[in-house]
Amino acid sequence: MLYDLLIDPFTQGFMRRALAGCLALSIAAPPLGVFLTIRRMSLTADVLQHGILPGIALGAIAGGLSIWWMGAGGLIAGLLVALLAAAISRATDGREDAGFAGVYLLALAAGVALATHQRGIDLTHLLFGSVLAVDDPALVLMAGVASITLFGLALIWRGLVLESLDPLFLRARGQGRLGMLFHAGFMLLVVLCVVGGFAALGTLMSVGLMMLPAIAARHWSVRLSGQIAASVVVALASSTLGLLLSYHVNLPAGPAILLVAGGIWLASVAAGPEESLRARVAIGAQD
């Protein structure tokens, strides 16, 4: 019974590939999400996931349905949108939400319009993912992105902490350019992870594996290392359980994984040790 529920699905090759890819991304993407939430850039992630869609569609039009063409298109579009988002943020002095909404709605509409005109693209798969889409090239893409992200994050870690915590520090030392380099490197990794997830999770769900575990992790630790560890654990669990859910009740992979991650987030808001409803009640009882 338990074997049928938990193990049997993974005797199938396509499920094992999807699992391997999602687990790789689960280790790499959530730490980026933790930094995004700390820096109050969650909206930027939203803009990016919509922003890559027209790029993926254009990649498919230019090179056919190869993961590399679509990935390259998504990467270029993602980087352009990241630059655009930074420009909007600066021009509006932090009141960027209206500009961001404009960008991502436009990108979504353009992406869907382009994709419907390309023969062979299943829009549901493109937007919401499919475990069947994780063929060997997609798996290589996911694992490659995860490896680059972990290595890159290790390289910029301390600088990113310093830039997020106290942006004036490096500028006052005459190292403002270095600070911008840390920020740019970080955004590059975010775009890579969003693109890396699109085959399995879909473009609209790809950011979910980055953000939902990260915002759930805020309720598990007040330390950066603790939040990162918690976010990775949540993502690993969501990927595994989500793929099983997708298999058993025939859901697209993206929504299935995000439903599990969202459930864990709600449970964390209610009962996690930090800043949760339970913690508030406990503090209230002390007063």
Binding site: I38, L155, I156, W157, R158, G159, V161, L162, S164, L165, D166, P167, L168, F169, L170, R171, A172, R173, G174, Q175, F182, S221, V222, R223, L224, G226, Q227
Partner: protein, 237 residues
């Protein structure tokens, strides 16, 4: 470059006819002064350009006219901005925050050495925040947070220190501790420049003062410069 406990090479920051603009409007002009080793205060009413001048010395604000010298190596300037600039909700422990002061030695990759860790611990003890050291910075009071910022400056170990209203919103015990630190820096031969509002404090500890005022600047011994400040204030009233 570990300087604590001994006299550093003589550094002097000089302002020669400096003018500063804030989004085109002139905030200060013809400012000439010399900041040598020891304590110097910058005083003046709100909007007189004190913070802007400090930022100009650090290189965060352009100089519209005139010249600043002695600030050519920004990594030798320790800067304490007004508190609002730091994200105080960032999930980091006090100890790790203080250790970032050693950025000049560690950079982005090098591990924190035993020597740096020992300097961090010494700064923690100096600022009397041993009990907080391994806690997150999240729930510090403003006084505790200012001690944390001072601890980072101690670890930065720069020959020049520029402090923007360092005693605002701190309790008496903290203020006493921070003034002791300023005096220790003075005794080590460092250049300490502080923007301050409290004239009694300036008279007690700062031999020289730069007064910024729209009716003209004054620079010299604190007693006479502050007397001029009071004359300006009476004029205005």
């Amino acid at each position: 470059m570990h300087l604590a406990g001994r006299v550093v090479g003589v550094v002097t920051i000089t302002l020669d006819n400096v003018a500063l603009r804030q989004s085109r409007a002139l905030v200060a002009e013809r400012v000439t002064a010399e900041f040598g080793p020891g304590l110097t205060a910058i005083a003046g009413p709100n909007g007189a350009g004190k913070t802007t001048l400090l930022r100009a010395i650090v290189g965060l604000h352009p100089v519209s006219a005139g010249r600043i010298t002695g600030n050519e190596h920004p990594d030798r300037l320790g800067f304490l901005p007004q508190s609002a600039e730091t994200d105080r909700r960032f999930p980091i422990s006090c100890r790790d925050f203080i250790a970032l002061g050693a950025w000049g030695e560690t950079g982005a990759q090098t591990a924190v050495s035993g020597a740096v860790a020992a300097r961090v611990q010494a700064a923690v003890v100096r600022m009397q925040i041993e009990a907080l050291a391994d806690r997150p910075i999240l729930r510090l009071s403003s006084g505790q947070f200012q001690r944390l910022m001072f601890a980072r400056l101690i670890v930065q170990d720069t020959p020049v220190l520029l402090l923007d209203e360092p005693f605002t919103a701190v309790d008496v015990a903290t203020e006493t501790l921070l003034i002791d630190q300023l005096l220790a820096w003075r005794d080590e031969g460092r250049v300490v420049i502080a923007v301050l509002h409290d004239h009694d404090l300036i008279r007690a500890f700062f031999p020289n003062t730069l007064l910024l005022h729209r009716d003209g600047m004054r620079f010299g011994p604190s007693a006479s410069v502050l007397a001029a400040a009071h004359r300006f204030a009476r004029h205005a009233a």
